[in-house]
């Protein structure tokens, strides 16, 4: 019953987010994250993925939920929509790791560096992917995310219009999602 209640809460928050309510959207993503973490950790163990990869998958799922939120049919429960996206991203991650393992056989240095860094935060995919975004989009994303600045503050700091910041942010988020699935620029 608790899950049922959570699902109704998520649906309500997503309804408000669709209408442009950012506070509701923040609450939705914050409330989803621990659940996604539990689900991905449990499944990573089950399908033979390293537990350290779980957080990357959580971030990838959040990106997909964000970019594909219009595909949720507001007449339908939101739980199956979220869980299907999560399952898809887990499957993608396993497929990717299969490819990576094949590549690593040829390159011992890669394996050693991968084993050398134990801190999961240090080797998160998203930081590697951010590096590939290019300097300006990276600054912009960092300003809005890690540094927690608003769009207005970021626009002032980077000497851009707010509209240009929004466009660049949206493009950067789409590029990040593409880089995750391996067809980036």
């Amino acid at each position: 019953m608790a899950l049922k209640g959570a699902e109704e809460e998520w649906a309500l928050l997503m309804h408000r987010a669709i209408d442009g309510d950012s506070a509701a959207y923040r609450r939705l993503l914050a409330s989803l994250t621990p659940v996604l973490r539990t689900v991905t950790r449990r499944n990573c163990a089950r399908i033979g993925l390293d537990g350290g990869e779980a957080e990357d998958i959580v971030q990838e799922v959040l990106l997909a939920i964000h970019l594909k939120r219009d595909s949720w049919d507001t007449d339908r429960p939101i739980g199956p929509w979220i869980m299907t996206i999560t399952r898809n991203k887990l499957i993608d991650a396993r497929r990717r790791r299969g490819n990576r393992q094949v590549q690593q056989v040829d390159d011992l240095a890669d394996i050693l560096t991968a084993e050398g860094s134990e801190d999961a935060m240090d080797r998160q995919d998203i930081d590697r992917l951010l590096e590939r975004l290019g300097e300006r989009p990276r600054d912009l994303v960092r300003s809005l995310s890690v540094e927690g600045r608003s769009v207005q503050e970021t626009a002032a700091r980077l000497k851009m219009s707010e509209g240009a910041v929004r466009v660049a942010l949206h493009r950067a988020i789409k590029t990040l999602a593409a880089l995750y699935r391996g067809d980036g620029p």
């Binding site: 987010a17 669709i18 209408d19 442009g20 950012s22 959207y25 923040r26 993503l29 914050a30 994250t33 957080e55 959580v58 971030q59 959040l62 990106l63 997909a64 964000h66 970019l67 594909k68 939120r69 219009d70 595909s71 949720w72 049919d73 507001t74 339908r76 739980g79 199956p80 929509w81 979220i82 869980m83 299907t84 996206i85 898809n88 935060m121 998160q124 998203i126 930081d127 951010l130 994303v141 960092r142 809005l144 995310s145 890690v146 927690g148 608003s150 769009v151 929004r166 942010l169 949206h170 988020i173 999602a177 699935r181 067809d183």
Partner: protein, 212 residues
């Protein structure tokens, strides 16, 4: 970047959704049909004897098949493009068109003399049919694939193939008003082959363009 930081960026990127996916898909299908009709009417146009043809069951039956293909593929596609949506009865509805066609073929074989079978099957426009249905479905297919990129099909290849079925259903409906070959034998051979070509193309495009 911590997940909490990513959430900051996602919240900053929130915009009011102007169109839900349902509207996007329906508009794309409508636009695709208009594009196909705009290409069809000036170049091919309906057959000159359409008034008499409308009184024959064979001519009308062509639309029963092509329209049931389009409708069932459209309904199934709407389910396939949204994560966690059961396909339900739509997956079964897709077999309506081929089933009707098989029944019609058997009926035709029973009702007509053996000597006429081959001419009924080969018809007069086989090559045109095979070329023009795929050509006419290009516009609808492009529109539908574009719309599907706004959705999130969990199986991109399958969604692309069903988009191909829908596009060829639209194209075949138009082409059937031009084509003078009305025998179910012709329909089962050439329309099916043309639909198969478009469906394969849809699969190939979908598997690449619809990943997310």
């Amino acid at each position: 970047m911590r997940t909490e930081d990513l959430i900051n960026a996602l919240v900053a990127d929130l915009t009011v959704s102007k169109f839900r996916f349902r509207q996007v898909l329906v508009s794309a299908i409508a636009l695709g049909a208009i594009v196909a009709a705009a290409a069809f009417l000036p170049s091919m146009g309906v057959r000159p004897d359409i008034r008499q043809a409308l009184l024959t069951i064979r001519f009308l039956f062509k639309f029963v098949v092509t329209l049931s293909l389009a409708v069932s593929a459209g309904g199934l596609l709407y389910c396939l493009a949204r994560p966690g949506t059961p396909t339900g009865l739509w997956a079964w509805a897709l077999i309506a068109a081929p089933t009707l066609l098989v029944i019609a073929v058997v009926t035709e074989l029973v009702a007509t003399p053996v000597a006429s079978w081959s001419s009924r099957m080969v018809g007069t426009n086989a090559v045109y049919c095979l070329m023009l249905i795929p050509l006419l479905s290009l516009g609808p297919l492009a529109c539908i694939i574009y719309a599907l990129r706004k959705g999130a099909p969990t199986n991109p290849g399958l969604a692309g193939a069903v988009a191909g079925l829908l596009a060829s259903g639209i194209a075949a409906t138009l082409y059937a008003t031009h084509c003078t070959d009305d025998s179910p034998l012709f329909l089962a051979t050439w329309y099916s082959l043309a639909t198969g070509i478009v469906t394969l193309a849809g699969y190939a495009i979908g598997a690449r363009a619809l990943r997310w």
